[in-house]
């Protein structure tokens, strides 16, 4: 089989790429190893910055009709379990990934993308250093698809991306996460998602917390009454190693020791067990191209370094890679130099915000005083205009953490006026 573009993986990133490529008139084959709709273990949040893409794809209304709850308040829990509510216009939608991803995939197929499910891509065909297609297993038979361009979007465990050397091997950004659906949640306010970044809780000293970043627990409501919630945590391999705990043990430790957990989850129970996945992330957009292929989403370690939102970078990655692909097909040039534009473009979009996030990671997590300042500040100035919570939080932090001769100072800027 010969195609112009083959997109491996039909998650949000792959579907977005397939949609935008097909819109540019390219012949696209979208493949996925699962049979759809498929289950995906995740925090189930579609953040507000995705709405423009949903509108482009014509699925905004359908997504809205399926949402379980809209998060308008992010409740941050800081050191000593001090609580501050960050109110925003619109932070995120909570839709089970099983349903939401299927809507996105169908949105892509409507534009004329060919879709094959149950097709597991096992390796890239590489000839003279150039990716020329994929090999895989379809219906228990070997299958080969040749293509001028391969878009790799098959998630954090991607073997194809590793085959072209794309793998973030920085151990400090190596995270695991688990999530379960809990019934009988109490005391939650409607439309509030609770994020717990508590350095006091973390079973480690300040140095460890600094080293191993923000690793929140979260409670996200799944219905209007907020009696059901998706509860989870993410934690880095380094921290687990430092304490010689598995992620299950770590999560249970939190359930036993945290007052917040007792308040919200005291009488709750997990319906079908905690499930987990690997959560890659990176400090900036990493190299995500190779001759004849581009890598998007989790496969390129795209979740951001602070909130670990992966859907937005994946779907914007899909959009931008289509722009680059169009130029590549126009010039019939699929070399590394040509495709490197994708890295630059995606970097321009995400790197500035991520830089702020990293400064938060590096400066505040282990620093309880700074954290308390932030919480106090949030209590004083509760309304937030910006629609994308991730970005606003970054701005917020920038006010509190003011760069002064290479050092961060905090505490004196509580008025909120930036110079």
């Amino acid at each position: 089989m010969k195609r112009q573009v083959v997109v491996v993986g039909a998650g949000p990133g792959g579907s977005s790429a397939a949609f935008h490529l097909a819109k540019k008139g390219l012949d696209v084959l979208l493949i996925d190893k699962e049979n759809w709709p498929r289950e995906k273990v995740c925090g189930d949040a579609y953040q507000a910055s995705l709405y423009p893409i949903f509108k482009d794809m014509g699925i905004y209304e359908e997504m809205e009709s399926q949402l379980l709850s809209t998060v308008r308040i992010i409740q941050m829990v800081g050191p000593g379990e001090e609580v501050a509510d960050f109110r925003t216009e619109h932070a995120e939608w909570l839709i089970p990934r099983r349903i939401g991803d299927d809507i996105i995939r169908r949105g892509a197929i409507r534009t004329g993308v060919d879709f094959m499910e149950g097709f597991e891509a096992t390796e890239l065909i590489i000839k003279k250093g150039q990716v020329k297609g994929i090999r895989g297993i379809y219906n228990n038979q070997d299958m080969t698809v040749e293509a001028d361009l391969v878009i790799i979007a098959n998630g954090s465990h991607s073997l194809l991306a590793r085959q072209v050397g794309i793998f973030n091997n920085d151990p400090s950004s190596y995270l695991f996460a688990i999530r379960g659906y809990w019934d009988g949640v109490e005391n939650m306010v409607e439309g509030t998602s609770c994020w717990i970044y508590d350095p006091d809780f973390m079973p480690g000293d300040r140095e460890l917390c600094n080293k191993y970043a923000f690793q929140p627990m979260w409670i996200g409501p799944l219905n209007d009454e907020a009696t059901k919630a998706s509860v989870g945590c993410c934690v880095s391999e380094g921290l687990l190693r430092a304490h010689n705990m598995s992620i299950d043990q770590y999560f249970n430790y939190w359930l036993e020791h945290s007052k917040i957990a007792k308040k919200y989850l005291g009488n709750a129970h997990c319906a079908d067990g905690m499930k987990g996945w690997r959560l890659p992330n990176s400090r900036e957009i990493l190299k995500n191209y190779a001759p004849g292929c581009m890598v998007i989403g989790d496969a390129a370690s795209c979740p951001d370094p602070c909130y670990y939102y992966g859907v937005a970078p994946a779907m914007y990655g899909g959009k931008l890679c289509a722009d680059v692909a169009e130029k590549a097909f126009r010039d019939n040039d699929f070399s590394e130099e040509k495709l490197s534009e994708f890295h630059v473009k995606l970097g321009e979009l995400f790197n500035p915000a991520w830089k702020q996030y990293v400064s938060i990671r590096d400066n505040i997590v282990g620093d309880r005083e700074a954290y308390r300042d932030l919480i106090r500040f949030a209590k004083e100035k509760p309304e937030y205009p910006n629609i994308d919570f991730g970005a606003t939080f970054g701005e917020y932090m920038a006010v509190v953490l003011k760069k002064n001769e290479g050092k961060f100072e905090y505490g004196s800027q509580l008025t909120g006026n930036e110079e």
Partner: protein, 591 residues
Amino acid sequence: MSMAGMSLKVEYDGAASDENNQTNQAVKKRISSIKKTIVPQEQVTAYINPSNCVNCGTCREICPTNAITENQRIICHGCPVCTEKPGISPQKMEELTTSTSCTVECPLGVAPQGYIGLTRAGKYEEAYNLIWSKNPLPSVCGSICHHPCEDGCKRGILVDYPIDIRGIKKYLSQKVNVPVKKYNVLYDENVAVIGAGPAGLTAAHYLSLAGYKVTVFESSAEAGGMLKRCVPEFRLKREDVDRDISKLQEAGLEIRLDYRIDRFTLEQLKDEYDAIIVATGTPNSKELKIPGSRLAGVMGAINFMEHVNHGMELYRHLGQVFEFKNGEAVIIGGGSVAMDVARTAKRIGASKVTVVCLEEGEAVPAHPWELEEVLEEGIELIEGYSPQEYTTDVFPHLTGVKFAKVKSMGKNDEGNFEVVIDSDNTIEIKADWVVVSIGQSADAWWKDQKDDNIFFAGDIASNKCSVVDAMAIGRKTAIEVDAAIQGRRVKNPMDEHELVMADVMEKIFPYNRRKTVRPKTPMLDAAARVNNFDEVEGTYNDYEINQEVLSCLRCGYEVVDQEKCIACGMCQVHCPMGNVITMVVKEGGDE
């Protein structure tokens, strides 16, 4: 190529390793081509492609500068997506990664991952030769090895089931029929091996590979030792034993049958041979020292198995003559041999078979799968009873055995094994004949034979009594003999086999790997097998073997240390996969 270098790498004190013209020419040709086309040899290093390496260890063992180490990939186990079992902490995962692997668990040092990978690549002959270079009895081990390698399989520990390594070996040993390489005689020294059992044959094989002229002396009419005398046919077909032995003879091993060594012939051997390996095993059943042990109806396990294997129905031994085919049988003992005896008794027509052993529960020495098969065949197992007396109505005919409940057992203060019984709690089991299977002993006179040139191997030298352990001691003894003759330092390459944790880039996510569709090893039903001596465990077919080898996680691969590599090219010449090792310019070198 030099098999000697491959299998017996014993380090010299300052001397160079064995040479072989063919290899050297290939190496010289390769180096000259590198010199001409690329860069000076100092800047060239071997590079092993981790994605193609099957981790057979051939290059690691052949490397003259020990520049190659085995890396083990971490198997991601941090979150539940990759596995159903509870996650373990990364720290414990690291410990597991650097301590466990099929390649270090095999007592003989065969690398299972190597022949699994070669089988996956369709290189059946290379896979067979890889086994044969370390293990002279692949068919036998394919049938009755207790497979410690499978206990080390990370797939079994972390994901679902271990790879059926023994089943793959059995398939290869039956499928592949290639002429094996002839032994090269390199040295003037010759070695005598007494006993053609697993240990003796293994020692002979290793010494022959190393380049000695070896002669094996066997007292009985056929080689194989306990494999022929004692192991029942439904576990190990005689043709499998014969196949392995004929391969050894084909390679040039001399086996002299019907040649019993006694004190006088031993003196002759001492004159004629530079070293003598005694691997006579433990041919005598231990007797129970309780009243009535000379009654007609009591026999030892080895005598019993020998009688059955020769098709006899009348037992004759030191004044005891009786028929043992029918009636009720009691087997005393809880080891693997006792289980074999019980299943044999069932097959020859005993109306009821009862196994009685001292141990209880987990402590029963037989392997769990053996106990399972025994119970399937309708054999009764009574645990925790100690035999007290054989009873008789009409002397000298046995009518039953009295047992007493065991209270405790273990070593007493003097260091002797002691069983404390509860004399109020006794049972008597009716028995027409009894097989005592409580262990074996060696011929006593060997104990006095102490000489610098005499080495002991196999069961006679050890308490471990499984086939592969006996072979491992045979191998170790061969290394000792080689070292003694050549005046080298004794150095077992297996002791130096270390596992190094691989780079995080190589991490394995079981989520990505093929789900196990493990075909169950073909087995005869209990009803179909208890009346005959057909082999119980079958062999995989071509499709099943493919499924099985594909589910290997491929945890290990070899890595070259660029600092130590001298770019001799030996590894490239010997690599059985052929396309794995390339010569590249060193990192940081001139291009």
